[in-house]
Symmetry: C2
Subunit: 305 residues, 2 copies
Amino acid sequence: MIDVCLLGTGGMMPLPYRYLTSLMIRYNGTNILVDCGEGTQITAKRLGWSYKAIDLILITHFHADHISGLPGFLLMMGNADRREDVTIVGPEGLERIVRSLLVIAPRLPFKVNCVEIKENEADVSMLGLKITAFKLDHNLTCYGYCFELGRAGRFNPDAAKSLGLPVRTWNILQHGGTVEHEGKIYTSDMVMGEDRKGLKLTYCTDSRPTPSIVSHAKNSDLFICEGMYGEEDGEEKAKEKKHMTMYEAAQLAKEAEVKEMWLTHFSPSLNKPAEYADKVKEIFPDAVIPKDRYVKVLNFEDEDE
Amino acid sequence: MIDVCLLGTGGMMPLPYRYLTSLMIRYNGTNILVDCGEGTQITAKRLGWSYKAIDLILITHFHADHISGLPGFLLMMGNADRREDVTIVGPEGLERIVRSLLVIAPRLPFKVNCVEIKENEADVSMLGLKITAFKLDHNLTCYGYCFELGRAGRFNPDAAKSLGLPVRTWNILQHGGTVEHEGKIYTSDMVMGEDRKGLKLTYCTDSRPTPSIVSHAKNSDLFICEGMYGEEDGEEKAKEKKHMTMYEAAQLAKEAEVKEMWLTHFSPSLNKPAEYADKVKEIFPDAVIPKDRYVKVLNFEDEDE
């Protein structure tokens, strides 16, 4: 299972009632932050998940509303007694940008390692999650991120018994290991069923719609996508500023056949983004226009069984 | 008259219910901002005074909680269509720090001019206000700021009449000008009374108490001072971290014979700073332990007459 929280839903500038878009993911004792605009540390405090446990920070691009909160956030982690290295992943130039911003946080009590993405697509898997970065279409180099959590097949105890394997070896095989028993080698696939459906989360802001978003978001359990404008003349503004309307995002969700879509990165000019929900749902019914700190637990298909 | 608003009252890190310490001053159509930590733009939006009209930003020192909000604030001013130059004044090294932070705001639609203070005390008067920077005692070079607004004496119409000066010349003389009438030169002081008491505002954070604070704050109408700790063992922490307790600040206010003192820069560990008010007022009765966006209009003594 993966816990997902959209810490903020705003674009461009933080508002008194709407923080800048960023995502927090909690999985298996580790936390991941995606983007860190001004004020992200405040909304993260409100949420109450451990920010000390953030091992990985992914940056989509270097516009201020996606990274200006970084020095404050790292200082807060330091004050919370974080001592282990933190990895930051982002577009080419990341190291220079991060070091510039850290001019006001010169003595963090942990090491910051920067990983720069240079290709159109990159595997940045970490912490037991398959993480894929893919280039978006914005007016500055910008990446979307896919998070995939695999799930092994079911263990077949009858198969293990018929092979004559003692119970003490089962656990090793269940976790993908190899066992030697009475001179023979037994591998995991001999006692495990087919891999089951895992979980997939796709995060995409800021961008115009692209075929690459559809292919990367394909079959996601949750697709979080910018929908900066909802109003009549939104598409014109979106094209000019290399953003997306809510309806364009809904169309991507439909084509990618995702389970659920959340919109985010709302223009400061939108007082009530939710007023466009009906029109969005005409295109993609499983759409949510959330407020800050909207939370969902992504469970495996039959996890509650 | 001068409008004063303490935009935030927190120290170290912004909290969901308390922004970082910064001050906004509104005077004669111009605005001044003192310090700009993360989130200052949000509390400034809540206040609703024009941030587009901010001509001068004073920075006390380069700890993140006093400057991390600068790129976002300047971008917000740009989005509000600010086109005129903005002056930023702060300690030596300001230019390097500001340019580093602006790596994520590379194309502001106005020019930013940095003025570095290198002495223990400096006259940085601007915009019709006498502004004095004076060095504090912190673990990083840090300045307090005094703002003084002078007030001319009363105009004496009888004096003007007895000199035979026509009414059309009075306005010039009232505003400090010189007039030639029937071959003679008349100066302002010939028709104006003694200068009257003006207004004085002193802002002081972060620091240990010093005699220089007392002498600079002397007779201020309003003295805004850090009071980071109020609890039992506060003085020990204050000494270690080069901060001040509320009681030390109150003692300075008493010695400086100020009219009113506001405390600020409260430690994140203080949930309710106001609970120490009684103890503070035992030392200095005209003390206020304000919340964010506390506002006061400083009027000349008889301005309401």
